[in-house]
Structure formats: structure tokens, C-alpha cells
């Protein structure tokens, strides 16, 4: 028996040795694509906006494109509206999704299945359809206007083409993943610890603050990082629902690259976006890697 095991084990071991180059070969193409189309563009964008040729063609250290961005009123307004949108979306997402996640985690009623299905549904609605639906509902003469008119209320001031347009759309779009991430974090809160706290007379608020919140703070940060990374440089919803000026960084970069045809300017804006998001990006990657490592 043991000899059979040995005989079987030996070729496996040898195989593992001889397969070493094969393993590398199999992962080579995706790794190459990733380096060429993720790592290299990022490095390229940074280096080409820092080392630029001067009038004589000598390449040298030159931050003038950044100096321009941070002195240009229009660019700064765009950056401000981007930061504002991201912040408002993050707060709204937390305020909306945390109660939903708490409800889903602790409710045993049959309704919770329905609530969960609804909360996840936006994941399967492409943002382009969302944009169209938004205009039909909240746009001028949309469904809300129709219903308000029917009960004798005045028309709403439509959020379409105002900074609130992208906010509503982006929050809608990001609800599913925020709820899922928070829910997965809430899974680590044991029922016993809550029951124990209630037994000694803690009310719901104290249970939340002292038992639940410390356990899910990491999940909250992950959910926020994920949505900040997505929202900060979002394109489709701000482009379709937001104001033309000031515009968020996504549409701004697209216009600088394709319409103004200024790749250096667009890359500068991209690098600035990288800079603002780097903390969230690194935190997010660290959390995912740690989770996978488990």
C-alpha cells in the first residue's frame, strides 16, 4: 500500500518540478496583457506628464501641465464638483445601505428575501438603461411630474442636468455592491454576542455602536473604497445626467482627449485622479488580497 503511494507520489513530485516553466508559460499572456494595458499606461501617463520636451526638443522635468490644471478655474471647478459628488454619494450610500444590510442580516421575515432581491437588482441594470429611466422619471415632464400634476402639486425642479443627477444615478447604481459587502461583513457578527448584550440591558443603539459597528468597520471602509474608486472617475452617468459645466473628471478627461485632442492634458487629469484615489485603491486591494489569502 505504502509502496503504491510512494510510486504514485514520485512522478507527481517530478511532474511538479518539470512543470515549472509550463506554469509560467500558461500565465504569460494574461500577465503580459495586464502589464501592457494596466501597469504600463499608468507609468506612461505619469512619466509623460512629468518629463516633457521643451521648445528645443530636450526632454526635461516639467510640471507645467499640473501647474496649469491647478491654476485653471475651469479645471478646479471640475475637480471640486467631482469631490463633492463622490463625498455626497459615499454618505448617501452609507445612510441608505447600512439600514438595509442590518435589516437583511437580522430579519427573519419572509419580506427580507424580497428586499434583498430588490437591493441587488440594480447590478443587473446597465447604467445606460438607468440613465434613460432616470430621464423618463425625473426629467422634465417625467413620471414624477405627471403624478405630482395629477394630485395638484407643482412640477419638481428636475435634477436632470444638475449636479444632483449623477448623484442619484450613481447611488442607485452602487447600492447592490455596498449592500453585499456590508452584509458579508455583518455575517461575522455572532447572534450570541448581541443576545448577551441585550440580556444585560443594552438597547438597540448601544448594541449597534458597541457590538456591531466595531466588527463591520472594515467592511464599511471596503464598501466606501470600492464606491469611491468607481464614482470618482465615473463617466456614463455624469456624462448623460450631469451639467455640461462644471463637469465631473470622467467626462472632462474624455472631452480633453477626444474633442480638445490634448493627450497630455487628459493624462494629467488621469494622474490627478490616480492621486486622489490612491489611498482608497491601495486599501481596497489590500483587503481583497487579504480575503483571498484566507
Amino acid at each position: 500500500m505504502s509502496e503504491v503511494a510512494k510510486a504514485a507520489a514520485r512522478p507527481l513530485m517530478e511532474n511538479a518540478q518539470s512543470r515549472r516553466p509550463l506554469g509560467l508559460l500558461l500565465v504569460a499572456i494574461p500577465v503580459f496583457l495586464m502589464i501592457w494595458l494596466v501597469v504600463w499606461p499608468a507609468i506612461n501617463a505619469i512619466s509623460r506628464t512629468i518629463w516633457r520636451p521643451d521648445v528645443d526638443g530636450n526632454v526635461g522635468f516639467d510640471l507645467s501641465s499640473y501647474a496649469f490644471f491647478f491654476s485653471d478655474r475651469y479645471s478646479l471647478d471640475n475637480l471640486a464638483i467631482t469631490l463633492w459628488t463622490t463625498l455626497v454619494c459615499a454618505i448617501l450610500l452609507l445612510v441608505i445601505c447600512l439600514p438595509i444590510a442590518l435589516y437583511l442580516r437580522f430579519s427573519r421575515s419572509r419580506l427580507s428575501g424580497y428586499v434583498q432581491a430588490l437591493a441587488i437588482l440594480p447590478m443587473f441594470v446597465p447604467s445606460i438603461i438607468l440613465a434613460f429611466a432616470f430621464i423618463r422619471v425625473l426629467g422634465p415632464n417625467g413620471m414624477v411630474d405627471i403624478l405630482f400634476n395629477a394630485v395638484g402639486l407643482p412640477k419638481i425642479r428636475t435634477p436632470y442636468l444638475t449636479p444632483w443627477g449623477p448623484v442619484i444615478g450613481l447611488v442607485w447604481d452602487n447600492i447592490p455592491l455596498t449592500v453585499l459587502i456590508l452584509l458579508s461583513g455583518l455575517g461575522s457578527v455572532a447572534n450570541q454576542s448581541i443576545e448577551a448584550a441585550r440580556d444585560v440591558g443594552a438597547n438597540a443603539l448601544r448594541v449597534f455602536r458597541h457590538i456591531i459597528l466595531p466588527r463591520i468597520s472594515n467592511s464599511i471602509l471596503v464598501a466606501l473604497s470600492f464606491s469611491v474608486l468607481g464614482i470618482f472617475s465615473s463617466f456614463t452617468l455624469p456624462y448623460l445626467l450631469g451639467p455640461a459645466s462644471p463637469e465631473m473628471l470622467g467626462p472632462f478627461m474624455q472631452r480633453t482627449l477626444r474633442e480638445v485632442q490634448d493627450p497630455i492634458g487628459a493624462m494629467t487629469q488621469a494622474v490627478i485622479a490616480f492621486g486622489f484615489c490612491i489611498v482608497f485603491g491601495l486599501f481596497y486591494v489590500r483587503s481583497v488580497a487579504r480575503n483571498q489569502g484566507k
Binding site: 503504491v4 504514485a8 512543470r19 515549472r20 516553466p21 509550463l22 500558461l26 500565465v27 499572456i29 496583457l33 495586464m34 494595458l37 494596466v38 499606461p41 499608468a42 501617463a45 509623460r48 438595509i100 442590518l102 435589516y103 437580522f106 430579519s107 419580506l111 424580497y114 428586499v115 430588490l118 440594480p122 443587473f124 441594470v125 445606460i128 438603461i129 438607468l130 429611466a133 423618463r136 417625467g142 413620471m143 405627471i146 400634476n149 442607485w172 455592491l177 453585499l180 459587502i181 461583513g185 448594541v207 449597534f208 470600492f226 472617475s233 465615473s234 463617466f235 456614463t236 448623460l240 482627449l257 493624462m267 485622479a273 484615489c277 485603491g281 491601495l282 481596497y284 486591494v285 481583497v288
Partner: protein, 274 residues
């Protein structure tokens, strides 16, 4: 938060409030779009359309730009998904089963794409494609959409291969099955469903990919979502957009049905770092 201690006998008021608000905010807009798609006349301020009908389905489906966009989108999604499967699945198998130098660091390097704000990265890629004359070409869009599928098509299949029972494979080897036979008869049937779900999700994800297609493909490459953008921006007939929305939602619905197993059990949220 009153539900922290579940009480079965009481009416679930909180649940009713959540269900009502979410129905209104999430299902409501979709119902409005669905209604528009089957409407022939709907003038403000009527609450329901004056006339229902399928007239605009014929008109929308009769448009050449719709057909061109649909064919192009299907071609793109097929090419990207096939390429992605061909290069990612062997890599996933290698990551799951083989040991080679740098395995872990290469595996986690696929996260790099998620450390950047997505559209900023797309702009940086577009700046490189500008020099390579890939802007406005089919293969430029294929490349940018391929990158979007990489992590997905590696991480989910890796989990699938790792979940296969190694003892069954070893037993098959013991009775003399060749490595290929083992892979074909033992490994693939067990990992298959999850891999199929990953392939399907990457097909659907590519079908709806808007930002890369718009940034790299315009003006030559008009996929369905790109066509939809132009309908939203400058098409007076509302029903065209509504019919397209309903049509566009069909693949998403199929994905929804198939993805339930991938999303279930919290594994999906963990993949996102939850």
C-alpha cells in the same frame, strides 16, 4: 434597528417600509421604461398612455443603425469572451494547480487594475492607443474590453479549480488514467458550471461595456450602449430608446438567472473584498 431581536409574531413594519421604498425607487423607473416601450401615444399630463401598441418595435427593429450596432456588439462580445477564455482559463489552471516562481505575486497582480479609478486608467490606455493608431478600430475596443475581463476570468475559475476534489483526481491517476483524461473526465465536469458562469458573465459584461467602447471606439465603432448614448442625447422619439432598453435588458436578465449561483453564499461579495 428594532429587528435586532427578531420577533416573529409582530408585523414586519420595517420590512414593509424597505420593500415599499425600494419597489418605488428601483422597480418604479424600470416599469416606466417598460411602459414607454409599448406606448404609441403618451402625452403629458396623462397618467397612463393614451394608446398602447407595438408600432415602435417594428420601427426600431427596422432601423439599420440598430441592426449594425447589435451585430457589432455580439461580434465584439463573442471575440472578447473567446479570447479571454483561451488565455485566462489555462492561466487559471496554472495558478490553481502548478507551482512556479512568482505565482502569488503574479496572481495578486491582477488586482492592479482595481487600484486605479477605472476611467482614469482607460484614458491612460487611450493615450497609448493614440500612438498605436488603435483609436476608432475594432481591435482597439477588443483589447480594452479584454483587459476588463481578465481579473474576473482568472479569479473565479481559479476558485473553481481549487474546489475540485483532489482525491478523485489522484484515484483516477492511480488506476492509470492519463493526465488529460483526468482533466477531461474529473476536473472539468466539477469546475465546469462555475467556469461557465464566469464566461457568461464576462460575455454579458462586455456586451454592456460602455466607457471603453465610447472612449476608444468613437466614432467608427458603435456598439449597442454607444448607440443608446446617442439616442439619449439627440433622439426625439422616446420610444426608440425605450424599446432598445427593453431589448438590451434581455441578456442581462439571462445573466441574472445564471449568476445566482455565483453570487449566492457571499462568495461574490468576498471577491470584492467584503
Amino acid at each position: 434597528m428594532t429587528t435586532l431581536v427578531p420577533v416573529r409574531s409582530r408585523i414586519d413594519w420595517l420590512g414593509i417600509v424597505f420593500a415599499a421604498l425600494l419597489s418605488l425607487a428601483i422597480v418604479g423607473p424600470l416599469v416606466v421604461v417598460g411602459t414607454w416601450a409599448f406606448t404609441e401615444v403618451w402625452r403629458y399630463p396623462n397618467i397612463i398612455p393614451q394608446q398602447f401598441g407595438f408600432r415602435f418595435w417594428g420601427q426600431t427593429l427596422g432601423r439599420a443603425d440598430v441592426w449594425n450596432a447589435l451585430v457589432l456588439s455580439l461580434q465584439l462580445s463573442t471575440v472578447v469572451t473567446l479570447l479571454s477564455a483561451v488565455i485566462c482559463l489555462p492561466a487559471a489552471y496554472a495558478f490553481a494547480r502548478m507551482s512556479f516562481p512568482g505565482r502569488n505575486i503574479l496572481f495578486f497582480s491582477f488586482l492592479a487594475g482595481h487600484a486605479f479609478p477605472k476611467f482614469g486608467l482607460l484614458v491612460a490606455i487611450a493615450a497609448i492607443f493614440l500612438q498605436l493608431n488603435l483609436i476608432g478600430t475594432f481591435w482597439g475596443v477588443v483589447l480594452i474590453q479584454l483587459v476588463g475581463t481578465l481579473m474576473f476570468m482568472i479569479w473565479i475559475p481559479v476558485a473553481a479549480f481549487q474546489a475540485v476534489d483532489r482525491r478523485m483526481e489522484e484515484a483516477a491517476r492511480d488506476v492509470g488514467a492519463s493526465p488529460f483524461r483526468v482533466f477531461w473526465s474529473i476536473t472539468l465536469p466539477q469546475a465546469g458550471p462555475t467556469i461557465a458562469a464566469a464566461v457568461l458573465l464576462s460575455f454579458v459584461g462586455t456586451f454592456y461595456e460602455t466607457e471603453g467602447a465610447w472612449l476608444i471606439g468613437a466614432p467608427g465603432i458603435r456598439t449597442m450602449p454607444v448607440l443608446m448614448i446617442s439616442y439619449i442625447n439627440n433622439q426625439m422619439v422616446i420610444q426608440y430608446g425605450a424599446v432598445l432598453s427593453v431589448l438590451l435588458w434581455v441578456p442581462s436578465f439571462i445573466a441574472l438567472m445564471f449568476a445566482r449561483r455565483v453570487i449566492g453564499g457571499g462568495a461574490f461579495a468576498r471577491g470584492f473584498g467584503g
